[in-house]
């Protein structure tokens, strides 16, 4: 069994209202060391066998086609998280 992780982030030029709300909240709980927060998503795709090149290619296709919207988001990472033999 293996897990593939896909990370999706809002494009840099897209205002991220959720990240902004988090950034505003942090100083209120005493954590004032951050100038900006951007919020993305992480997906974990589990496969029964090994994370072959073919499966990774499918994960990349899933990332581009369904998991992200290229108009507002970038896929910033598709990689094997862990593999058990």
């Amino acid at each position: 069994m293996a897990r593939i992780v896909v990370d999706v982030m809002p494009k840099p030029e897209i205002l991220d209202p959720q990240g902004k709300a988090i950034a505003n909240e942090l100083p209120r709980i005493g954590l004032d060391g951050f100038s900006e927060v951007r919020q993305g998503r992480r997906f974990e795709l589990t496969v029964d066998g090994e994370a072959t090149d073919e499966v990774l290619a499918q994960a990349r296709e899933a990332a581009e086609k369904l998991l992200s919207n290229p108009v507002i988001e970038d896929v910033v990472n598709v990689s094997v998280l862990d593999q058990e033999n």
């Binding site: 809002p10 205002l15 209202p17 709300a21 998991l67 919207n69 108009v71 507002i72």
Partner: protein, 263 residues
């Protein structure tokens, strides 16, 4: 000729048993798609009937468009807005047929309202996308809109520059697109509706709705189908003062389509 209405369809105020104002409009069959989580399909169907057309319920899992002359993707929360609003609905079996028909030479007219607009952008039938409202709040209010393009299949009955008022209600209503797309929309007169009286959600260039180049596919965030019937409409109208809930500025969206298809 009286229509056969089921008990559920029996009107509360509008008398749908009377013949349509123009008999030919009744021959226009407008499909309204229901996805899991759609909310406003009944209102959209009712708006079509009040405008004088025939509403045809369509089910997202079917692959048959039932020979409809136009399609409305109504508002709601298809698939609970999981992943992104409209992202999963876009892959429903019926959507493939709608996308093909909208892009075909026949140019099937398609209107996406709110969540339906989000489905249209996820389907790449319209450019750009929607993100959360700037202030992260769900907005529900009567909203002024300026008709920027009165030549689409869905706006032809309005005057260019006319102001209308219809309800707005959404969480992910902030229209975004890259600068090139925004420039293109402007240059090609493809902004169909713009917010007036304040931008409610931070949408780029006050954009409330857009059209494709051919004018058959239109999407907008506010809800014209909720302002079609005196007593159940908006509290305001672009034409002047109206009694409470008597604003019916949204009706001409549906009449525009029916007239276009019977011309």
């Amino acid at each position: 000729m009286a229509q056969n209405l089921t008990a559920e369809q029996t009107p509360l105020i509008a008398d749908l048993s009377q013949p349509a104002p123009i008999a030919a409009l009744q021959d226009v069959r407008v499909g309204v798609v229901t996805f899991p989580g759609t909310l406003d399909d009944r209102d959209a169907m009712r708006a079509v009937e009040i405008a004088g057309g025939t509403a045809v319920p369509l089910w997202y899992a079917d692959e048959n468009l039932q020979n409809v002359d136009a399609v409305i993707l109504p508002g709601g929360f298809s698939y609970g807005d999981y992943l992104r609003a409209g992202a999963i609905a876009r892959f429903a079996p019926l959507m493939d047929k709608i996308i093909d028909a909208a892009n075909s030479d026949a140019a099937l007219p398609v209107l996406g309202i709110c969540n339906g607009f989000q489905v249209l952008t996820e389907s790449h039938l319209l450019p750009g996308s929607m993100i959360k409202n700037e202030q992260l709040k769900f907005i529900c209010r009567d909203q002024g809109l300026r008709i920027e393009n009165a030549e689409t299949a869905w706006t032809a009955r309005y005057e260019q520059g006319q102001t209308i008022v219809v309800p707005l209600k959404n969480q992910d209503g902030q229209y975004v697109a890259d600068q090139r797309t925004l420039d293109e929309l402007g240059a090609e007169n493809r902004v169909a509706f713009r917010y007036v009286g304040g931008n409610p959600n931070g949408s780029r260039n006050d954009i409330a709705g857009i059209t494709n180049a051919r004018g058959n596919v239109v999407g907008l965030m506010p809800h014209p189908e909720h302002a079609v019937e005196p007593g159940f409409g908006a509290d305001f109208s672009g034409a002047g003062d109206v009694d409470m809930r008597h604003g019916t500025d949204g009706l001409d969206i549906f009449v525009s389509l029916l007239e276009r298809l019977t011309r």
